[in-house]
Each structure stands twice: as structure tokens, then as C-alpha cells.
């Protein structure tokens, strides 16, 4: 748990690019003989890059939660938007790994589930909108 803050600390775009390309080349090397190691290498590189993303995202989420107090928007809406972003990211990551491993069908299922969940998350907002419109008209 102590190493968590150190993960991906202070990575520049050059280093990120280098790590990504290096990982891809390593994975290509394994694709011929031991295809499963190619998948594991690409998963490991993906997770490593994700922890670098989290470093950058930390500031952003902080700013958003501070903006919530300035803007007169219901907190729930910003929270919902943030959840949708997180959902999309996880679904894309998982479906990307499945596609890389050659299983498009599983990837499609993951993406469909993600789309439906986002739709389900957005339904209350839509209903609230229609309620507001109805109250306006009445």
C-alpha cells in the first residue's frame, strides 16, 4: 500500500510512449511461439499505464469536486457523469484486452453491457428533465 503513491510518479509523455512501444514490441515477440505471454505482457503494460493515468486524474477529480460547490448544479448529476466516464474506461480496457486475445465476441458483450449501464444511469436524469418540463407547462 505504501508503494501506491510511487506508482507512475513523475512520468513524462516520453517515458509513457517509450514504455508503451516497448511493451508492444515485447508482446509481438511472444505472439509467434507463446501467444499467452503476449496477452500477459500487454495486460501488464496496460495496467502500468493506467496507474500513470490515475496520477494525472487525481488532480482532475479533485478540481471537479471543488467546482461542484461553485456551480449551482445538483451534485448527483456531476457524480453521474463521473461514473459514466469511469464505466466507459473500464469497459474499453477490458474489451480491448479481449480483442487483443482474439475474442471479439466477449469484447462486444462487455461493451454492450457498458452501453446499457450508462443508459440506465442516465434514465433518472431524463425523467427529472421531463418532470421539470411538465411542471413548467402546468
Amino acid at each position: 500500500m505504501d508503494g501506491r503513491e510511487e506508482r507512475g510518479a513523475g512520468m513524462t509523455i516520453m517515458q509513457i510512449g517509450a514504455v508503451g512501444v516497448l511493451g508492444a514490441l515485447l508482446a509481438v515477440q511472444f505472439k509467434a511461439s507463446k501467444a499467452e505471454y503476449a496477452v500477459y505482457v500487454s495486460v501488464a503494460v496496460g495496467i502500468f499505464l493506467f496507474f500513470c493515468i490515475v496520477q494525472r486524474l487525481g488532480f482532475f477529480v479533485d478540481v471537479v469536486s471543488r467546482l461542484k460547490s461553485y456551480i449551482n448544479v445538483d451534485v448527483a448529476y456531476v457524480q453521474t457523469m463521473l461514473k459514466m466516464v469511469g464505466l466507459t474506461y473500464i469497459a474499453e480496457f477490458a474489451s480491448g484486452i479481449c480483442k487483443d486475445a482474439g475474442h471479439q465476441a466477449i469484447a462486444v458483450q462487455i461493451e454492450t453491457f457498458c452501453k446499457l449501464t450508462i443508459l440506465a444511469l442516465g434514465m433518472p436524469v431524463l425523467l427529472a428533465l421531463f418532470e421539470a418540463i411538465r411542471e413548467f407547462m402546468a
Partner: protein
Amino acid sequence: MTINLIFKIAAVGILVSILSQVLKHSGRDEQAFLVSLAGLILVLTWILPQIYDLFMTVQRLFAL
């Protein structure tokens, strides 16, 4: 999750590949299979906690 993990996985992959080739050529097919299986399990025990970490972090970050 440092960059060393990626190199460790690659190293295990290369090692397993070489070992299983050598064993197959000397006719011990079952041992070759066991070696590749062992390598697979080892790499999985490295990767699975990281995947778990990933999902927990996303859940925590986006308040899912």
C-alpha cells in the same frame, strides 16, 4: 506495479519457451507441458492482483 513486472513476465516467458523446447527435443513432452503450465500459473499470480488493484482503483476514483 513498476516496470520491472513487465520485464519479469517477459523473462519468464522466454525461459519457459526455451526450457519447453529443450525438453521436447530430448523427448520429455510431459515435463515440457508441466514447465509451461508452471510458468503460466506463476505469471497469473503476478498479474491477477494487479488487475484487482486496477478495478478497485477505478471503483474508488469514480465512486462507482
